[in-house]
């Protein structure tokens, strides 16, 4: 028993050490700018920009293939932050400052087809086949994918009602937004 535990532990430690050294030797110096841009983007991998996920979008931004206004869920704040990071002028007039939206299920129309929760990138929709689905408000990023696949138009993005529970302090005004 002790030998088994000890030998496997030592084996694991040795292999881990080798891998750790290899990770140092074969480290990939990723583009630092891409990493920073990825941090600015929301990270929900919703794909509304047309790129495969936020890291793909950040790659395209860094190479200059995409406008800074590419991210609909990010809205004006993300567009301005991206423009500041890349040092380009951003025309944010076309960017809707996204009002906080949230997906809502109209229960009388939902047929329980499960299509919406299969596409949800944040697993914000709960439900099972033939059961009325519902949305976890905290997890929904309002990416709109569920709206697109719903066959009965039962799930739609609705503005969040301003209640005591839904009200937040505004985010602090950062240096980038003042500069813009």
């Amino acid at each position: 028993m002790i030998t088994a535990i000890a030998s496997l532990t030592i084996l694991g430690a040795i292999l881990g050490l080798i891998l750790g050294v290899a990770a140092r030797v074969f480290r990939v110096e990723g583009n630092a700018l891409v990493a920073e841009l990825t941090d600015i983007l929301p990270g929900s991998q919703c794909g509304q920009c047309g790129f495969p996920g936020c890291s793909g979008a950040a790659q395209a931004l860094a190479e200059g293939h995409a406008p800074v206004t590419l991210c609909p869920p990010g809205g004006r704040a993300v567009a301005l932050a991206l423009a500041a990071k890349l040092g380009v002028e951003a025309d944010v007039s076309g960017v809707q400052d996204a009002r906080p939206m949230i997906a809502e299920v109209r229960e009388e129309l939902c047929i329980g087809c499960t299509r919406c929760f299969k596409v949800c990138p944040t697993d914000a929709i709960m439900g099972a086949a033939q059961q009325i689905h519902s949305v976890f408000r905290e997890a929904c990023t309002a990416c709109g994918k569920c709206e697109a696949v719903c066959p009965t138009e039962s799930i739609t993005l609705q503005p969040v009602q301003l209640t005591l529970h839904a009200w937040y302090w505004h985010k602090p005004v950062t240096q980038t937004t003042i500069a813009a």
Binding site: L8, L19, A22, F26
Partner: protein
Amino acid sequence: MSEYLLLLLSTALVNNVVLVKFLGLCPFMGISKKMDTALSMGLATTFVITFTTAGSWLLEHWLLIPLGIEYLRILTYILVIAAVVQFTEMVIRKVSPPLYQVLGIYLPLITTNCAVLGLPLLNVQEKSGFAVSLIGGFGSSVGFTLVLVLFAGMRERIALASVPPAFSGAPIAFITAGILALAFMGFAGLVPH
């Protein structure tokens, strides 16, 4: 020497790991759409299998048997396999980022390729020596690569052919794989038993 050559031939063709033993079918179906990716996948798997068969043999005979803990065999082998795959992933990511992108999820999934675990276990079962294990592992993975590339070439041609709708996609791929397996049975007479 000729004995080892025969072993290489027999593991690569006669007892082909994919088409005769039916191990490692996941990458066989998953990564065989394009020939060059199939070749890279085959080479990555060859590297992993060769190292794991050698590593597992050493661990089996220097660690598991002396300590009498043969019941930890699968666990130990998986540990070695995972480490080698991780290492391969790091190297490929460093050396060839486009290949890393193309192989995608199938690269870490070499870990769960049953051929990689199956070959060391078969070596134990047959009580092979170190050289036989190593050459057998290498030969089997060469056979894997060969079959993967052959199959990818066929699928590239099938993609251009007009396949009846009922058979298009996965069904025709499975049928092709079956016919290829039948063809490989023809090698059975190549090596005298």
